[in-house]
Symmetry: C2
Subunit: 161 residues, 2 copies
């Protein structure tokens, strides 16, 4: 595990000047690492970072490859290959889409759902830490603001309805 600590010497940067992009990247990376570590610790040694977007975006009933590729920001062939690997490892399965015979739905297996549970628990633990650090009110407002911006980012202009 040569890629974990990151805590040697202080960065020596003015945190008060960090742009929002840097903070978002750092915090997202922190959580993703914790989730990966938790998965490994609980025996999922074949869990890979590349699977993360699939677990994050896959709908309960299953999602199409095209949608997963777009959300993850990779091409369809790339996502197809990742799904191949995840399928071989038993995290997801491909089932035909009843609404379009060209399409297949990618759906979590029970083993895949376990990863989601681990991720949820890990992130909830981090949320609790952060809630304690910021205080109840301020954390609630942070989360609310992040959610509103996320909605904005996902549904850009005046999209649908």
């Amino acid at each position: 595990m040569s890629k974990r600590d990151m805590s040697e010497q202080p960065l020596n940067i003015p945190y008060d000047a960090l742009m929002i992009g840097a903070t978002l990247n750092i915090l997202a990376q922190t959580l993703n690492r914790r989730v990966a570590r938790a998965a490994h610790e609980r025996g999922f040694i074949d869990f890979r970072a590349a699977f993360h977007p699939v677990f994050q975006w896959c709908r309960t009933e299953g999602s199409r490859l095209t949608e997963l590729a777009e959300r993850a920001g990779v091409t369809k062939p790339s996502m197809s290959e990742i799904v191949d690997v995840m399928e071989r490892l038993g995290y997801v399965e491909r089932v035909p889409d009843p609404r379009d015979r060209r399409a297949t739905l990618i759906r979590r297996t029970p083993r895949g759902w376990e990863i989601n549970r681990i991720a949820r628990d890990t992130i909830e633990a981090a949320q609790d830490e952060w809630r304690r650090a910021l205080g109840e009110d301020e954390f609630a407002q942070l989360l609310s603001a992040l959610r509103r911006l996320t909605r904005l980012a996902i549904e850009p202009a005046g999209a649908s309805e």
Copy 2:
């Protein structure tokens, strides 16, 4: 550009239930994509996503490979290879570290600094959008909270100082 829009059909998830990890990932990804697109649009067609952490973490005076690798969450050989590429493309240069003859400092070239300027401009534009969406006060509080959590994430326990 097959990997860009992502805005077809609504996600159909309750945004109010999104965990903080999902929001952070989505927003960070949104900004990273915008930066990459802006770099491409301004002629830096050889700019790659893998370079992002280097531009984000490299100190003004230069940073050691080991530090960059840790911050980026990759191994030293991986970072070494990325730096090789970036050096060939003229984004960074390796200079000897005066304080330790084993070490080299990775430092931005003028061309590398241009990327930083593009990134800063792009992120400032996004910040402005978000500020308008949330309102001045709430955005200020969001940024402040993110910065405090970032400091916490970078300097975990009662580290150094």
